[in-house]
């Protein structure tokens, strides 16, 4: 790992050269030797890893997709092929010289093998495929600590801050990235596990006790939690920053959350967003700003990002919309190359220094959408309408008059061959005129999603919270696809 301060000042050319160098070494000395899957792929494609010069040659490597790694019934251990592990054959083949060495000999080789031993595991959430394990070695834990430190540095968080980590506990990246970041910074923290673990009331009490300056939440739960705090007249004057992970934060929601914090005494609180993925085993922070978007600051010594046309797979230019493709650099454990994230960066990748903080590391544009949330619906007799479910989030999450919402997709009459229906359950703010509100909402939904709602169903907040699983699920269920299958 390079020094973060140094990285932040490197020119584009220097970063590129460093990445070329690291990619060459990583492919030849680690991936080709120790990754079963990639060594087979390289052999199949007759790519000599010693001849790869740098990023320019990446395009000759095939993409890796979620489905390639996810366990199947036939091969539940498929993920192991992506884990760097010197097996007996490799150790025998390359370790003999070291074993003969007078400096450590056999014991040194054994220790080296332990460097590859996984000690910690995260799983993907399993929304689109079976949950897939991603493994960390001790060396990787140092990396996740360092990247956590970098993320907090982007957010201007220091060891003088106090953090309430309310990400739901699971063997998932969000909770653990926050924990390791705090550990590296030696920052006081409560790693609560979220509302499901401690309960909202205990978490509210914890804020009184801890007086945190930093809150870490998933957006939907944060909005509920802060409304509850306002209702109880709690004191949140210590809070300076709230940062989110797990899902996107629409601008309207940021405003609503900021307003709630201000109501509870917080002075000029700032809402910050992170972007992370289990496959990369780390997360990146968005450069802090109240109303401008400067993108997520990446770690060029630990990864290479490309943006490609989602259809053709061709690389797109700087700042052009494309699917984010990730390649690990210098990690151990589970390592993926040219991994298709399924996330579309609307503003692409930017290599210019950040106009906000001046850091020179590559930035992924703030507007990221999940490609996989585009689903096919039979909404009319013309089958196969494509609906971007992403569009519901900014519209409904950021709506100033909506407290909670949920979208349910069903089959008419629960008949698998009938048309699809879309229902919106909504708990609006008190005092709204329902008829006017419904009509305005229907129009905005048609405009943003191009679908017409079957019905809008009004519900009291507690009932809808229950239906969302706000305190019982790892993440609340905003969109339910309850279509009966034939």
């Amino acid at each position: 790992m390079e020094n973060w301060e140094k990285l932040n000042k490197m020119s584009y050319k220097e970063i590129r050269e460093m990445q070329d160098r690291k990619l060459r070494a990583f492919l030849a000395n680690q991936i080709y030797l120790y990754s079963k899957c990639y060594s087979e792929k390289l052999n199949e494609l007759k790519i000599d890893p010693m001849k790869v010069k740098g990023i320019e040659d990446l395009k000759h490597l095939p993409f890796t997709y979620k489905e390639d790694i996810a366990p199947t019934d036939d091969n539940p251990q498929r993920h192991k092929d992506y884990v760097l592990r010197p097996d007996e054959e490799v150790t025998e083949k390359y370790g003999h010289l070291a074993q003969l060495s007078p400096y450590g000999g056999k014991a040194a080789v054994e220790e080296k093998v332990y460097d590859f031993k996984p000690v910690h595991i995260h799983f993907t959430t399993g929304r689109t495929a079976e949950p897939t394990p991603f493994l960390y070695t001790k060396r990787d834990l140092e990396k996740i600590r360092e990247t956590g430190y970098r993320l907090l540095d982007v957010f201007n968080v220091t060891s003088d801050d106090v953090t309430l980590n309310a990400f739901p506990f699971a063997p998932h990246l969000a909770f653990w990235q926050t924990f390791f970041a705090g550990e590296k910074l030696n920052m006081p923290a409560l790693n609560s596990g979220g509302g499901k673990i401690m309960g909202t009331q205990n978490l509210l009490d914890a804020v009184e006790f801890l007086q945190p300056s930093v809150l870490v939440f998933i957006p939907g739960y944060a909005y509920y939690f802060l409304r509850e705090a306002v209702n109880q007249g709690r004191d949140f004057s210590s809070v300076k920053r709230i940062f989110f992970g797990g899902e996107r934060v629409p601008p309207g929601l940021k405003d609503k959350i900021r307003d709630l914090l201000i109501q509870m005494g917080a002075e000029d609180p700032i809402c910050l967003a992170t972007y992370g993925m289990t496959e990369a085993r780390t997360a990146w922070g968005e450069c802090p700003s109240h109303d401008e978007y400067f993108g997520y600051h990446t770690y060029p010594d630990l990864e290479i990002f490309e943006t490609v046309d989602p259809q053709t797979g061709e690389n797109v230019g700087e700042g052009e919309e494309g699917e984010v493709v990730y390649t690990a650099l210098d990690w151990r454990g589970t390592c993926v190359l040219r991994y298709r994230t399924g996330d579309i960066a609307k503003g692409g990748i930017l290599y210019e220094p950040c106009p906000n903080c001046g850091r020179t590391v590559p930035r992924i544009s703030s507007n990221i959408q999940r490609k996989s949330e585009v689903k096919e619906f039979d909404l009319t007799k013309v089958k196969g309408t494509l609906v971007n479910l992403n569009a519901f989030f900014p519209l409904l999450m950021g709506h100033p008059d909506i407290l909670e919402w949920q979208v349910e997709i069903r089959k008419r009459n629960d008949d698998p061959y009938d048309l699809d229906e879309i229902y919106l359950y909504v708990a609006p703010k008190e005092g709204i005129e329902k008829e006017k509100f419904s009509s305005e909402l229907r129009q905005r939904i048609i405009r943003d999603t191009e679908v017409s709602l079957t019905d809008i169903i009004y519900m009291p907040v507690p009932d809808l919270l229950n239906q969302l699983g706000m305190e019982t699920e790892v993440k609340e269920k905003r969109i339910l696809d309850n279509r009966v299958k034939a």
Binding site: V119, L141, F169, G182, N186, L190, G193, D205, E208, F209
Partner: protein, 478 residues
């Protein structure tokens, strides 16, 4: 904390003198000057901290109970009174180093000076009776938590070649985090599942299988539950060698059942271990083998066993309530904290006949005072010790899952046991068998028995929802 290889071989006299000196330093250097609660208490009661020369003098000090520590609606910050102040004038190292030391001191060293006092993690008690109590852990406390975790692994023979499933229910609690820190420190492969309440049994069992795990760490009820599922569906887990139990008491009869369950699942050379966690003690105490007692870390905490009624100190191996005093801790610290847990076999300072370690041991089962109820049976009032009933029922051969309700009917209290004998179907006459078994074991409180399904019972117990399963529901006045 000191070197374990040294502490585990110390004579009782050496342990006592080490504890005397640690206690004096804790009271003199920390509590009397920087502890808001004890400073005030000493002043109010006219206690001169200088007169405390060792652990024998602790008897002169009042107990601290959960009531004094737990927050309530009127005072959510009450637990802060038990946290050592972080900011010290000058700082110990600075005083020692003098002017030149101060002049040449590096920034790093300056930062290290406050590290024992600086909070890094906030943990909580489980809040079984009162509200959950926040406990401040400093860097020194986490270092000690790692050390006690490593010592536990030494007891259980866990090494870096092991693969571990940490299925302690996730809580910001010492049990989960001690195992996490120890697995990372030792470098063994580990999955921190968060228990059934996070992942559910199916995923935990899959992980056990896929990781070819050698060790499962969880609470007793959940270990039994997982094995029942494995055995019922005939799944084999031949790599599983060890199960470590904690967060609740596991009587020997349950340990036997668990061992049988492991063998049924194809495990060989099985071992089951127990550990006793007490949040306020800031760590857990392991057993080297079931029945030999929980081995205390005498360089970390001082333990007394007292009469729960009178508060008098008990003799060796006499049953009584566990009372702890932190000897090497910062952040939240306690003097004579009453745990509400009863060591049924008391405490001994004799060397362990199994492992030879000389540290004090807590013997017998751990009973909870909050599991003792008063029943109004119409004609008479009776004490109902659910700890005893739990022990009996957990050991009953044909009983698979169960829970007990205390209901009020008119003016009288009634006990109801809801039970089942298997996952798929219940044995005929199960209720009669239970009545007979309890009668043989001299359980003489009238009991109504309902037979229910495995699923309904485990659901009611909160097996996949709670921190541990609940087997007693006091429904009176509710």
């Amino acid at each position: 904390m000191q070197l374990w290889s040294k502490v585990s071989k110390m004579s009782p006299q050496d342990i006592k003198s080490m504890q005397d000196s640690l206690l004096v330093s804790m009271i003199k250097d920390e509590m009397s000057s920087y502890h808001p609660y004890y400073q005030k208490l000493f002043a109010e009661k006219g206690i001169d901290p200088q007169t405390i020369k060792g652990t024998d003098d602790l008897k002169e000090l009042p107990f601290t109970t959960k009531k004094e520590v737990a927050p309530d609606e009127t005072d959510l910050k009450r637990p802060k009174q038990f946290v050592l102040e972080q900011i010290r004038e000058g700082g110990q190292a600075e005083k020692k180093k003098g002017f030149l030391g101060k002049l040449f001191k590096k920034k790093e060293e300056e930062e290290k000076e406050d590290y024992p006092y600086r909070m890094v993690q906030l943990f909580y008690t489980r809040g079984k009776v009162k509200k959950m109590v926040p406990l401040v852990f400093t860097a020194l406390d986490l270092r000690n938590l790692k050390e006690t975790g490593m010592r536990s692994f030494d007891f259980w023979g866990l090494e870096r070649d092991d693969s571990t499933i940490n299925a302690f229910s996730y809580m910001p609690h010492v049990s989960f985090w001690q195992i996490f820190y120890a697995t990372v420190e030792i470098g063994s492969t580990a999955l921190q599942t968060g228990g059934g309440r996070v992942l559910g049994a199916e995923k935990i069992l899959k992980a056990l299988f896929n990781l070819e795990a050698t060790t499962l760490i969880t609470f007793p009820g959940y270990a039994e539950y997982c094995l029942q599922i494995l055995n019922r569906f005939g799944f084999m887990m031949p790599t599983l060698e060890k199960i470590v139990l904690g967060m609740d008491d596991a009587p020997p009869s349950l340990i036997k059942k668990i061992q049988e369950g492991m063998e049924k699942a194809g495990a060989k050379d099985t071992q089951v271990f127990r550990s006793y966690y007490l949040s306020e003690a800031k760590g857990g105490w392991p057993e080297c083998s079931p029945g030999y007692g929980y081995h205390i870390h005498p360089d970390h905490v001082f333990v007394e066993i007292v009469d729960p009624e009178t508060g008098e100190r008990k003799n060796e191996e006499e049953s009584g309530e566990i009372v702890i005093t932190n000897l090497d801790a910062r952040g939240t610290v306690f003097l004579r904290f009453r745990s509400g847990d009863i060591a049924t076999g008391g405490m001994t300072t004799k060397p362990c006949p199994n492992c030879g370690r000389t540290v004090p041991r807590i013997l017998g089962d751990i009973d909870r005072l909050d599991r003792i109820f008063e029943l109004n049976l119409g004609q008479e009032k009776r004490e109902f010790n659910f700890n005893d009933m739990r022990r009996l029922l957990l050991g009953m051969k044909d009983l698979s899952q169960w829970y007990v309700e205390i209901n009020r009917e008119g003016e009288s209290d009634r006990l109801k046991l809801v039970a089942c004998s298997g996952i798929k179907e219940n044995e005929p006459d199960l209720d009669k068998k239970i009545h007979k078994y309890l009668e043989q074991e001299n359980f003489d409180i009238p009991l109504h028995i309902d037979i229910s399904s495995y699923e309904d019972i485990t659901q009611r117990q909160g097996m996949e929802r709670g921190v541990t399963e609940c087997r007693i529901f006091d429904k009176r006045n509710k």
